[in-house]
């Protein structure tokens, strides 16, 4: 009774999973050179507002053939701060073989924790979009993390068709 009067949530409710939306993309695509670009995006419904729930963007995008050593990769929900060094550039990174041939493969990993301590503007309830892309800090043009997203036998005859996964986990505070 005391807890109800005070209004605090019981421990068992904290960090409970409210909703999860999974995305899958197995379409091979050539990634364009650009001053900024989108590798993949989607939409989902956030059930609670910014003060009630937080988001974990959790995904993996396979790539092939090197291009930019660094290019300012980001993972965001719509409304994100797009200034230099903003939170959308955190919790995401990529690495791979520094070679051009199709066998040179890359992993772009997303594990971004989005909370209202620094990213409340991304967390309102309702229909929201997510995006993974790049935006180099120096404003340079002609960048990209790799040349091919979701490679297949076109890059190397030993490849099957690879695909990207993204899971949007909504947890209660």
């Amino acid at each position: 009774m005391a807890r109800k009067i005070i209004g605090t949530k019981p421990a068992i409710e904290r960090d409970k999973l409210i909703n999860v939306t999974h995305f899958w993309n197995n379409s091979r695509s050539d990634v364009n050179n650009s001053a900024n670009g989108t590798l993949w995006s989607g939409s989902f419904t956030k059930l609670k507002d910014a003060n009630e729930s937080w988001i974990l963007m959790d995904g993996m995008l396979p790539g092939s053939r090197n291009y930019s050593d660094q290019c300012g990769t980001f993972a965001e929900l719509n409304g994100a701060d797009t200034n230099n060094d903003a939170p959308r550039y955190e919790g995401i990174y990529y690495a791979g073989v520094n070679e051009d041939p199709g066998w040179a493969r890359f992993i772009l990993q997303v594990h971004r924790i989005i909370k209202n301590d620094d990213s409340a503007q991304e967390l309102a309830a309702g229909s929201r979009t997510w995006k993974v892309g790049w935006y180099p800090r120096n404003g340079g043009s002609g960048e990209k993390p790799f040349r091919v997203l979701n490679p297949n036998s076109n890059e190397d005859s030993r490849n099957q068709q690879y695909g990207s996964y993204m899971s949007i986990w909504e947890y209660r505070y």
């Binding site: 109800k4 421990a11 300012g72 060094d85 955190e90 520094n98 909370k115 800090r137």
Partner: protein, 181 residues
Amino acid sequence: MARNLLNLPASGDEGGIIKITTWKNESRYSMSATSGTSGRNEFLGNQGITFIKEKSNSDSYIFVTGVIPGLGMPNYPQIGCMCTIDDLYVGYGDTNGPRTGAGGGGMFYCGPDKSNEGNLGLVHKSFKEWTIAAGTHTLTAGWNANSNVRPFIILNPNSADQNRFHQTASHICIYEISKTA
């Protein structure tokens, strides 16, 4: 009725995730080349992550996921990567734990053997077989090697390293998960 009066969740709600400790580190850090267990917390920037486990060992276990950005690979990439709690089982051949030595793995990285290329660190580890009591604990990730090594030159690189970088950051989730339904 009692549950309704007290607004308590039904007992069936006690399974699943009990707690998630989230941790972000956006501090650029020059890694030290160290031997032995001195590198066991270097992946996190020479620090551990303190967290509180709510339930007993019989009631819950710990599961960890995360991404760790690095720049430049100065060593051949076999350096005894580990992820452990409370410095358990960090010895090379420690057989006291559920797996032999170096914290039983669960942390790895890859990237090209170049000074200016990205190296991707990942953590994905279940501690379900470990004995972790309720209370305060410390998670570390790093290495235990027989020579002075380091996996990256820079942890969480930024524009000081290359002007296309924004500030990058490590993001880690420490899940406490119920062992009961």
